[in-house]
């Protein structure tokens, strides 16, 4: 993983060093480059959020802040509660306890659409792309620009193609054929299409669910680059992953979930990659296991 580490170092160099906020558990507000979001109220905030499914507790007492121009990483093993957390942020679930604040106001989303309307876009692991549909149709799916009066309301096809092409070019994807089905794209390209779509539709907060999980090193690099690009464009990014190396390369703040609770919560400045790897690998439990096996 040395290659990736070096990449992470460079990323570090490019970003302003983090400073701890008094909030402690905050994904720190950016102070880099004097952006106006710095120090402002967090875009999203969870206070003591919990979620029960019947008598199963999926999440409890989670505090989380998401700031513009920052990448907050949420790490955790399978079953740690990552996906429940995403679903709460995305508006698919309502927390059974605690509060969810957007721009400082408490909200109760009843559908992902409402979250989307507040600028909270989620890019799921399975991407929410339709494999058999052309790229440009996918790009505008659910928010198609239209012209004409009912019943002759039609899609602005030329505009959709041109815009999709232009937006993807901005992200560095130059497709020879905007009509190609998404299934023909590589894994990394698909992620970038999904991210580009969210950004184009005015996302302020980008929630990325395991975007690098199924990708090789090269394709992961493609995606991580655009995570940084989105951050640099002033978006708040929530990067959910179980890969500490990927997280450390782009993250400004790290939250490690374990069995539905926050195990570790630290800004980049307080956390080395090794610590993160250690925590992800099981932390104290792993130490005990290592001791027991005695090797």
């Amino acid at each position: 993983m040395t290659g990736n580490d070096r990449g992470a170092d460079r990323a570090d160099g490019a970003a302003a060093p983090d400073t701890a906020q008094p909030g402690g558990a905050a994904l720190d507000g950016a102070e880099q480059g004097g952006t106006e979001q710095g120090g402002a109220a967090p875009l999203l905030r969870l206070i003591g959020a919990g979620k029960d499914f019947g008598n199963i507790r999926a999440l409890s007492g989670v505090d989380l802040e998401v700031h513009a121009g920052r990448v907050g990483c949420v790490l955790g093993d399978n079953g740690a509660g990552k996906s429940t957390l995403i679903k709460i942020l995305a508006g698919l679930h309502r927390p059974t306890s605690g509060t969810y604040l957007v721009d400082g106001e408490p909200v109760e989303f009843s559908s992902p659409r409402e979250a989307l309307d507040r600028g909270i876009a989620t890019v799921y692991q399975d991407l929410a792309l339709v494999p058999l549909m052309p790229v440009w149709r996918n790009f505008f799916l659910g928010s198609e620009p239209r012209a004409g009066f009912w019943p002759l309301t039609r899609l602005r096809v030329a505009e959709m193609r041109a815009t999709a092409d232009a937006e993807l070019k901005k992200m560095g994807i130059d497709l020879p054929d905007i009509d190609a089905p998404v299934a023909d794209l590589s894994g990394g390209q698909k992620q970038v299409v999904a991210i580009a779509r969210a950004v184009y539709f005015g996302a302020r907060v980008l929630i990325l669910d395991e975007p690098t999980a199924a990708l090789g090193v090269k394709q992961s690099g493609v995606v991580l680059r655009y995570v940084r690009a989105a951050r640099d464009a002033g978006l708040a990014v929530v990067f959910i992953t179980h890969n500490p190396h990927h997280a450390h390369m782009v993250g400004d703040h790290f939250t490690v979930l374990r069995l539905g609770e926050v195990e570790l919560d630290a800004p980049r400045s307080e956390l080395a990659l090794d610590d993160l790897v250690h925590h992800m690998a099981g932390g104290a439990e792993l130490d005990a296991l290592e001791h027991e096996l005695g090797r």
Binding site: V130, F140, G142, E144, R154, G172, D174, D184, Y226
Partner: protein, 353 residues
């Protein structure tokens, strides 16, 4: 492990991000309806060579008519299939609509157009219920519509028997409005000197309209999306349940239209036991035309070609004077061939479709 990936400023275009250029011929081969179009051309040539009567314009009109009776329903069924579902009740729903028109007009002494309105409402309701049960229970459409199919089959016969005392509806040929109903649903129009049944024109119109909806409207975009990945579509805010229910109601509309043709063409009398088995012909037309059974892929033009292939095979065998017993064998062989050719083209075209 390879060298570290550089992190250039985003926006720089990269080689690795370029998908390969697609040659135009391969793009053409990837069209869902190409296989069926080739099949139709070959079949046409075969019958043209083998059956002398097939060469007359009047015969083509008959073939097109046979195709249109399947093709009109196939428009709705293809849309539904692209949307990821299919409807086994479509065959008997046509007869239900026809019976509803015949019986309401006769029993309540209604103008046939008024009865047609009631029948339309019923057909849409059947579609709505199909869709509602599907989205509420999450059961596969095969099971839901199979149940509805059997129920309708029973209802058609039982209610007809209850109402009219016999197994067919009473003739409404002498009632008000029947003549204009017949003019709209079952007349003939001269086209280039040949009498062409009006259903052929309706079929072409519906095919064009549905193609426009599918390719140029938001609804069309949603239909493809819902069939291709219902979860994906839901996640970006597509109202999946509404789209599916709407599709079933579209099938209901076409069932009504076909039912109106049936009753108008059969002099205002409808046999209650008919329609069984036709649902598979509609599905066959859509599949031959390149629609994927699993949804998300296909065109209405393809379904029209599929219906044309059916009409051509069915009638062409008679024109050629071949033994009638073989008709269904040939229809089945056509289906198999079309499906194999389609999948071959698709794999050659490279996509993972």
């Amino acid at each position: 492990m390879g060298p570290a990936p550089a992190l250039p400023a985003p926006g720089a275009s990269e080689k690795e991000l370029r998908a390969g250029r697609v040659p135009p011929l391969r793009r053409l081969a990837a069209r869902p309806e190409l296989g069926s179009l080739l099949g139709a051309v070959v079949l046409f040539a075969v019958f043209f060579a083998a059956a002398e009567p097939f060469r007359q314009a009047g015969s083509l009109a008959t073939v097109l008519y046979a195709a249109s009776t399947i093709g009109i329903m196939a428009v709705g069924v293809a849309l539904l299939m692209i949307g990821g579902e299919f409807d086994l009740s479509a065959g008997v729903a046509v007869v239900t609509a026809s019976l509803a028109t015949g019986m309401t007009a006769y029993q309540f002494n209604l103008n046939v157009w008024a009865a047609a309105g009631i029948s339309l409402a019923l057909a849409l309701l059947i579609g709505f219920l199909n869709g509602l049960i599907l989205v509420r229970t999450g059961l596969p459409s095969f099971l839901v519509t199979l149940s509805v199919f059997l129920m309708l089959q029973g209802l058609n016969i039982a209610v007809t028997k209850l109402v009219t005392g016999s197994v067919s509806s009473r003739s409404i040929a002498d009632m008000d409005g029947f003549d204009s109903v017949r003019a709209v649903f079952a007349s003939s129009v001269p086209v280039l000197g040949t009498e062409v049944r009006i259903t052929v024109l309706w079929w072409l119109l519906f095919t064009a309209l549905a193609t426009w909806v599918l390719l140029r409207t938001r609804a069309g975009n949603w239909i493809y999306a819902v069939g291709g990945s219902a979860d994906g579509a839901r996640a970006v805010g597509v109202p999946v349940a509404k789209v599916k229910i709407g599709l079933f109601m579209t099938v209901g509309f076409f069932a009504w239209f076909s039912g109106m043709h049936l009753i108008a063409a059969s002099g205002g009398v409808q046999q209650s036991g008919e329609g069984v088995g036709n649902e598979l012909l509609y599905i066959m037309a859509a599949v031959v035309g390149g629609c994927l059974l699993t949804g998300g892929y296909g065109t209405v033009v393809g379904a029209a070609i599929g219906a044309f292939i059916y009409g051509m095979t069915k009638q062409g065998i008679v024109y050629a004077g071949w033994d009638n017993n073989w008709v269904m064998f040939f229809v089945g062989a056509m289906l198999l061939l079309a499906v194999v050719v389609n999948s071959w083209f698709r794999s050659r075209a490279g996509g993972r479709r």
